[in-house]
Amino acid sequence: METPPISSLGVSSVDVLRGVLRRGFNENQLIILRELCSYDYRSLTHALRSISRKYGIPLSTLKTNTKILKELGIIEINKGKTPKITQTGKVVLELINVRPINNVGLDYRVVKGLSEKIRLARDYIRKTITESYVGYSEDSLSVMDVLITLYLYRGYGVGDRGLSLRDKLVVSRKYVNPTLYTALTVVGLVPDDGVLSFKGFEELIQKYSEVGIPGIDFISQSLSHGLLVGCGMALALKRDGIPAKVYVVGGSEDLIDERLWDAVSIASRLGLDNLVLITVGDGRLVGDPILRWCISGWHVVSVEGRNPTELLRALNEVDTVRSPSVIAIYTGNNKEVLTKEYELSTYDKVLYE
């Protein structure tokens, strides 16, 4: 039988070849390859830990698959150096159509799951606020996306005060009790008994000072004090050699408080690269916070609007930098946001764009 030269293959034949090659890799290997070509990880350990956290795949499974990829000559690993895709590997990736995450958008399943959860949470909270005639929808909804995205993306377990390997979350914002309650219910950290009411929020708040809300490590009751507490937590993790991150979710009103800027300078002086501040604001900021962050040596990512895909990208980006990072989310004018909140269809369109 005569074999035709590869250059003479048509488009349909390349598709066949692609299918055959693709079958040679399992799901986990594809995830590893896509992650490695998207980001510059510090080392293989850093890469595998981040992937494990992000996708919920056991570390041992990832290690086995990485070994196979190395033996196949697709990736090259040098001790203590950034793991890289080899030249041959790049050709294979091109053939099987695996491209960096930033170019093709995030995994469809992740975004879809997220959008469903957010829609559910919005339905919950709107219903509760309408039925009980109390609460502020603006405040409640402002950090909802951030919380749910973080929970689903980072794979939070039930909150405990002791040391553990999981990432930590500090909420530096007042009056978000309904949001917290809804977000926790939607992601399954608080049992949903079907009776969502403000009584539920009150009970939760009564509890948190005693035992801590599941999934949240600390709620700051004082304005802008969350970042300082976050600094302490990041320091504890760093000194214990635990490769987890501390996320502090706050509002733009914190930025007017000098205590926040104290914390900003402390974080860069102590070299807390495991600290991430997420501020949600309507853009009416006093002074020039971005400039101040940059001067203090922080890595700044600005995210326009409330697009979870953008937020996921920002989270990916700050995962690889070696300085404290801030993700500044601008939600635009409050009035406009409120109108948009109730038009779920518009929201979904934005999400899938």
Partner: protein
């Protein structure tokens, strides 16, 4: 006492591997701890409010955190101590270094107990001398939750040769039947001096060291209120809101007893150079005892 505090902290650092000390970089209270355990010593050039935040963060991650700083400075972070540490019952031990009026009259703070008493879940300690400080610090680090402890900057007078100290239980330094002198901190020494002087007048005074101000040892208090029928409270603190107020609040409910208070009346930080000027000496206690004996 400050030196004894540093030494005890180093000893306890060996015992508790999770013990952290957080301090202001420009004014380190316990340099000896920093020398021995640099990996567990955090010094930052920031206000006390920043210290409280970092200490709270470390405590959330399961550390035992000691924050030594000057009493007056600590009061500037009251709101954060209440919200961040008190309400959430974090394992942070605040140590207020108290400067006596004899050394530095401008930064003396006589309102710390009053400020701290209202904070939920907090325990307040005020040891009388270095020996008691050692026991107290061991006890304090043994319990979970927030604690405020007042430590005198100078060595001060020795009250105990050896002592056993339990949180929430007052020490009976000297037993007596005519009058009970309830004292805390440095005033225990002055109370002992007063008791000796009162013996010349034929008055047998008991001296009780209430090193724990919150929660108050009500059992010992009621026992001596019943036995003597007259009490004098002596403290190096404002008469409002301190140990005296705490004693009065308990007595009025449980066993109303004639009580006199020896403490700072009004302190504005100037025009006062010594404890005599503030009315915090043995002779002031003696006068108070005589007053209360009249109305018994």
């Amino acid at each position: 006492m400050r030196l004894a505090f540093g030494k005890t902290l180093v000893e306890l650092g060996l015992k508790y591997k999770e013990l952290y000390v957080v301090e202001v970089a420009s004014n380190v209270i316990a340099p000896i701890f920093a020398e021995n355990f640099p990996e567990r010593f955090v010094s930052v050039d920031v206000g006390v409010q920043g210290l409280i935040g970092i200490a709270a963060g470390l405590a959330v991650c399961g550390k035992k955190v000691v924050v030594p700083t000057y009493t007056g400075l600590l009061m500037s972070a009251w709101e954060l101590i209440k919200n961040t540490i008190g309400n959430t019952r974090l394992n942070v031990k605040l140590v207020g270094i108290h400067r006596s009026i004899n050394n530095d009259h401008l930064s003396s703070c006589y309102e710390d107990f009053a400020f701290m008493r209202v904070i939920p879940n907090i325990v307040i300690e005020s040891p009388a001398d270095s020996v008691e400080l050692r026991c107290c610090l061991e006890e304090v680090l043994g319990v979970e939750g927030p604690v405020y402890m007042r430590v005198y900057e100078d060595e001060g007078e020795r009250v105990y040769d050896d002592c056993v100290c339990r949180l929430g239980v007052a020490n009976v330094v000297r037993d007596g039947f005519d009058v009970g002198i309830i004292a805390t901190g440095y005033m225990v020494f002055e109370a002992l001096k007063a008791a000796k002087e009162l013996k010349n007048y034929g008055i047998d005074a008991a001296v009780l060291d209430f090193h724990t101000i919150k929660p108050l040892d009500t059992n010992t208090l009621i026992k001596y209120a019943r036995a003597t029928g007259a009490l004098v409270v002596a403290e190096e603190h404002n008469i409002l809101g301190g140990l005296g107020s705490s004693v009065a609040e308990t007595l009025i409910k449980e066993y109303p007893t004639p009580t006199e208070f020896v403490g700072v009346k009004e302190f504005r930080g100037y025009g006062v150079k010594s404890l005599e000027d503030l009315g915090l000496t043995a002779s002031d206690i003696v006068r108070a005892v005589k007053r209360v004996m009249k109305v018994r």
